[in-house]
Point group: D2
Chain length 386, copies 4
């Protein structure tokens, strides 16, 4: 997976200055397989902070910007300008920033959700369609090899006809009103102006939703949601209960919570069909349980006996040598690199290279919007119209 | 827990003839701690089958009956007649059988659900109230020691104010239409005439509901349900998705399924409060996870360091020597024996002796009824009125 | 497994009075499947204690004895005398008690180890051979269904040629010198006069050894041991490290400890062959891991898909309904009942009925003796001569 | 942990050309936290292979060498020459290569074991002592944060006085004679000329040994070993059973195997003291079990509640976001970077910066030598003289 003899892709970053969490994760992910060189950035709207962050990273000060619009313009004008940009700001800036780069032919690797609102998402999808550049959304958890295998098994019919999808994402870091005592990561996530109409459902519910859609290759046709805010004074939901129906007859449940005391990053997906079930937990990501109906359960391991070529493409080290969250994230960057390199050569992206794009991003926003509307209507079933 | 110097309680049984599953379980449970002597039975409505079953069990042929009404009458007339009866028939016979014994002052130990219909349950609750005899419902899973401890921890406020209850009960034995190929255990469970209006939701959903209620000491005020039948031709639901709300502000989700391929007897309860969470799985019943918010998770084990006196009352062997389903069931019988013995002495049942009775039985039927109604109304929130 | 139409076997007990642990376990085990009736006992050498224990159990006072020799004599003389006796005293009394009953044609079900010393074991084996009665040793852990299956898989060659056996039994209840502060269960176990020359190695090392031998169908030809006493003042070993060699070329390690802080009853067996491995843990006894070389690991569950008929014979309830320690113990009693019933009919014991007898008991004492000798010789390899 | 504002350390590599496994791992590890720039290499003794490997990595062809001696000489002469070198060749080349760089003041980051033979190790230790440059050995598994925490807990006395250390490392990739069918990774490992006198014991036994020593802060004073070769025709051991004694009175067992069918990379360490135990498994590395004697087991998680500052230094992402093998390896490189940077500033290495050096490397060779000698002497106890 390590780069072999080709040049590194020149990468810029918007957001992700000192103290930001996800920016550093994107940088590690970009670096892991050595297929990118970070050469420019607009790390903060504070000039001082952007500058110091750029210096930390050893960037040429001329290529450290305070405005992403200026960055897009300048970099597009350079012969050695960036070929791709990572957007890692709070949600409400995704749309505007992405537009600047896409319209200038610079590929966008955007943290999820695609945008803060459904309207923005529809507009951005249009921009992306009209641009020659790629739009890639970093839904981290689909970067895990065993999720790749799970999707492949479903598609190959190994579970028979799907009946049930049970997905949950439980955390506890918002159990108390930490946003009121200076927790920066919490503050913007519970602010509708920066996050959009969904709190927990937008922040992590969308990950759960995307995971379920990716593995089942299906999107619910309708849902009934009960969003709730447990922490007094919080303005967005911190827990979400959702029931789902699919046109195929499949049914599902989704639970997302940031007040589930004792849960760290408990994303789990279970899928059941007429011929068997799959079970995967993000906190034990190197294992995929396959339980064929009427036979002993099979414990499939990353790169182990029984794991597939599709999963193997995303592995660096042998079975029993755990890969984790950063490797999953790096897989997104490596898939993006493969797509960008194909694009540069004027080729179609090979079928085995998979990533989330505008369709997945739009589905996420449609999902959040439907959950919010259903919940406001006391759980009425609401159709998802992509 | 073994009987010490007191006489065994004389026990009869209705149902549970050859080939029945749950009848044998009740007998083992009654025998384990040696506090009962099985002396009479009406094992089947087939005279031949009742007789042979009685002979298998070494009963006096004079005390093997074909009609439970006759059994109640005859046993009540004997000076050495049964003091208690176990009712282990299909659901639709519970009400009529229980009435015969209760009205004659014979204690009833009844398999769940209490009755097939809510109307029957309300009527039987009235009969029980008017009778001097006890009515005890065998909700197996609350017989586990670690569930006793869980309830005690909740009651003691160790989790803070409760916020969430997530309960699930997933099996796969009805994945295929086995009721059409002679599986007796399946056939009556999917027959509305014998089971009532709930299929999976009645058969195992009620266990999950009872478990949640027992541990949280609370009953939802309303629910929204999506019952579904996946197997063509089946007349009752085989999967249930339910969202729940409580007057306290607590929220919950319940999932019950008998078509979750690869699941054996996957009953799991998680409860989350402001100060911590609990997590218990029936397939690993000797362990209770306690996750205090902001501290390392604690793995509490049956009879182990950190387990409580309330749990210890229900244990026979030291930590690390697994107790299981039969021991949990036997705990119900031992609690029943303690209650009966107190009753015989004219004493109140000691506070530490806990068992499900008509209130819990009625709650179960109210739950099933609400699920069925909500689902028929496309998931409208329906109030639970006990 | 429940008795069907045959009479209960009349059972006596030696040892197991009030406060004894293992006596109550034997009684539950005997009762579980209803194939025995406890009718006589010599529960203690204290007349008062034996009497009160008998009364607790509802026995006829005439059949409660103070001397096991008297008991054997009296019971042998009665037409309704006991057919079998459970011996559950401290180790040093096993030989004398067993002899009294065997020589009178009464079957013996004896707690392990067979005797306190190797000399006694050889002598008792001779007595048993000469008696028409059966001698059955209760090595609890081989009563688990998944162990039955493990042995069957090994015998069928599913693992290929065996190479390695790694077995361990770790407890922590002797971490501190509890024997000095009145812990009765501890006191006799660390007393050479009551236990024999092995402490931990005799008490639980023999269980680990028996488990390994049962599953591999092999006995080591030589071993090298490092026994150690960690707790000051203790007179017998509380930790044992053992390396083993087999004539077949197989190698093994055995670790037994009663000072492994944090371990409850951690008996685990792993067996590896050229074609795969097995892994079983007593604290999770319903699961047997089968890891075929070059394929995904298979999680076999008691009574579940992939479990064998041999295991199924020892099950009472379906997969997912955990059975535990008491059920494993009850399986020993049910196998004993099957053997005794065959014996009474003059038939050979059916091949599927398996239990430990004098050969296994003798092997255990040979093992303890070899460990003690090797350790005294600073770990020299010592041959096991059965 | 990401580099902040300081220049990257200029790094070279010896070994690790195309198709090598561990070379790529070292490169990812060096890259992850962005504190190194790979600028030179001698990737193979084949000129063609070294050149193409350098090209893959985008190196200046002038700095791609065929001889490590030449590389050391040329790089030492450059003003922008490498400051450190990673040595990732087969074992028998470690000593000669390390010497070239150490004597020229270039820091050495060397894959384990330090050398192929004890003699070489003693000589190299002398060279390192006389050099001003650092010698850092990459014992991967001590790079895991929870191992750092384990060592800290032991040192702080949280387990009381240590009694037992049980360590095992089980793999199955040499179950069959894969070295005879072209498996390059296998071929050199089973060749005494390239690996030294230990096969499995040297390849992975040393990891297990180092892990135990690191956490317990102790080295055994003597050991008794039973090395064995199961696969016909193999020239080095593929399984090792070892018993250990410590001057403190502690005892231990070590099992290393490469023929344990079904095991992937099963490195597990358990340590028991008078006050509690620790349990850690490499395949689930984000969890450290702490079992205080007489209290509920505590599940400590990387970066989670209850994890220590010492562990936190080695973490990049929050609890519940698994870090794995590559992150552990990167921690070694980051600790090396911290040591090198301190060295460059003429400062002592801060106490919290920990890494294995010549002492640990020498201990590993002493261990292998003792195992081989003990085993040849039929398991005689052999003293470890460091």
């Amino acid at each position: 997976m390590e780069r072999q003899g080709t040049d590194r892709i020149r990468l810029g970053m918007v957001g992700g200055g000192r103290d930001a969490f996800i920016g550093a994760v994107h940088r590690i992910a970009a670096r892991l397989d050595d297929r990118y060189a970070l050469v420019a950035g607009c790390f903060s709207s504070s000039a001082e902070k952007s500058r110091s962050s750029g210096a930390d990273l050893g960037l040429d000060p001329d290529r450290v910007y305070v405005s992403f619009a200026e960055m897009a313009e300048c970099e597009a004008a350079r012969s050695d300008g960036i070929e791709a940009v990572s957007i890692v700001t709070p949600n409400h800036l995704h749309a505007a920033a992405a537009r600047e780069f896409l319209t200038r032919g610079i590929h966008v690797i955007c943290d999820k959700p695609m945008t803060a609102t459904l309207e923005e998402a529809r507009a951005l999808a249009k921009v992306a369609t009209e641009s020659d550049a790629l739009f890639i959304l970093t839904h981290t958890y689909t970067g895990y090899p065993m999720i790749r295998q799970a999707g492949e098994m479903v598609a190959a019919g190994e579970l028979g006809a799907l009946r049930l999808v049970q997905v949950e994402y439980a955390q506890d870091w918002l159990t108390e009103p930490v946003e009121q005592s200076g927790a920066k990561q919490a503050a913007w996530r519970v602010d509708p102006a920066q996050s959009g109409a969904g709190g927990c459902i937008g922040d992590i519910g969308t990950h759960a939703f995307n995971l379920a859609c990716t593995v089942t290759r299906a999107i619910p046709s309708a849902l009934s949601a009960d969003l709730h805010t447990f922490v007094p004074g919080r303005r967005l939901d911190d827990n979400a209960h959702v029931m789902m129906r699919y046109d195929s007859g499949m049914r599902g449940m989704l639970w997302a919570s940031q007040v589930a005391a004792g849960c760290e990053n408990g994303l789990r997906l279970r899928v059941f069909g007429t011929a068997g079930g799959l079970d995967w937990s993000q906190e034990d990501p190197n294992v995929l349980w396959h339980r064929p109906y009427g036979a002993a359960g099979r414990r499939l391991t990353r790169a182990g006996a029984g794991s597939s070529a599709a999963a193997g493409r995303l592995c660096r080290v042998p079975a029993g040598h755990p890969e984790g969250y950063l490797e999953a994230f790096a897989n997104l960057y490596s898939e993006a690199a493969a797509a960008i390199e194909a694009h540069h050569k004027g080729q179609t992206v090979p079928a085995e290279v998979q990533y989330a794009g505008t369709a997945e991003g739009l589905a996420g926003l449609v999902f959040v919007d439907a959950c919010v509307r259903s919940s406001r209507q006391n759980g009425d079933w609401v159709a998802l119209e992509i």
